[in-house]
């Protein structure tokens, strides 16, 4: 999902930076508030953020004959919402643009919007819809993670299509072409990522159910139901 340095004109870079900045600023503020209220939230942030570090460093081969990264943002989105996920993603993306030439400082805003804002927000909406239904906790984690991953790449495709509309067919036809490159490659990765993070969530539930209930991530009944299954 990394748009390369120089891949967007400075006007687009500015637009995406302006969209990303309020989320980042609110995210830092929100993070301070949560950590001040409950120090036990810090280890949970460590685990969910740690998975973003691990998964976004893995370039996995896919059915289209090219490689892509999972994003790993699902757990953090469920636990802390999209704003804090934006902050963690920004740290990872900054590291990658400074040291790995993946992305770059000018396009960092655009990459934060796709991986740190739109993907997690889409996942968060789905989580809020599923939280108060009878859908099982693990299925929720799977669906949210896979959706956040897919939406990240759909957003990248849209960002590139906006910047490079095709001569014939314009925006829509180049959006479809970019989707063909990014989204199709991503489908198997999103499914595997969803299953892996659902398994990780099982271990979090086994070891530390009280933090999930205290931060109101899932209700006590749902956590109890999930515990009775393991």
């Amino acid at each position: 999902m990394h748009i390369m340095e120089g891949g967007l004109s400075w006007q687009w870079c500015l637009v995406w930076w302006l969209i990303a900045l309020p989320f980042l600023i609110y995210g830092v503020h929100h993070l301070k508030k949560i950590l001040a209220a409950d120090r036990e939230a810090l280890p949970l942030l460590g685990v969910t953020g740690g998975f973003i570090f691990i998964l976004s460093s893995l370039k996995l081969p896919s059915i289209t004959g090219s490689c892509s990264h999972p994003t790993g943002t699902g757990l953090s989105t469920i636990s802390f919402g999209p704003w804090i996920t934006t902050v963690v993603c920004a740290i990872v993306l900054l590291f990658q643009s400074l040291f790995l030439a993946h992305g770059g400082l000018s396009v960092l805003g655009a990459n934060i919007v796709s991986m740190g804002i739109v993907g997690p927000s889409a996942g968060y909406v789905l989580y809020r819809l599923l939280r108060d239904t009878s859908v099982n906790v693990y299925l929720t984690v799977f669906l949210v993670t896979a959706l956040a991953d897919m939406f990240t790449y759909v957003t990248t495709s849209l960002q590139l299509a906006l910047a490079f509309p095709a001569e014939t067919g314009g925006l829509f036809s180049s959006f479809v072409m970019f989707l063909g490159v990014f989204a199709v490659t991503q489908v198997p990765l999103a499914i595997v990522e969803g299953i892996v993070l659902a398994l990780v969530f099982k271990y979090i539930i086994t070891l530390k159910p009280d933090i999930l209930i205290r931060l109101r991530i899932f209700s006590a009944e749902k956590i109890d139901e999930a515990r009775s299954r393991i």
Partner: protein, 100 residues
Amino acid sequence: MGFRYTLEILTIVAIIAFCAIFLYTSSTMSDAEFAGSDNVGSELIMRLSGNTEGSFQPLIPQWEPPSGEIESCLFALQAAVGGILVGGVFGYWIGQKKKA
């Protein structure tokens, strides 16, 4: 109790299936280079914009890892940081649980 290891089994099956699909595509698609989709995307940008690779200048000068080895080293470093965080916290939680 029937559900006890369902997720573990699902995860293993998914990873094995993923590897199988990889082996299948890499043996049947002769032109599959397994380049990053970022690069494939960049090629598409060049085609759509009609520019060549040389005409893309970084807006902000950027350091690039001088070789693939150094790049993979830095990627491994990133994964290691994540691994330390995850392992450390799970260890901390197990310790807390034992103490309680």
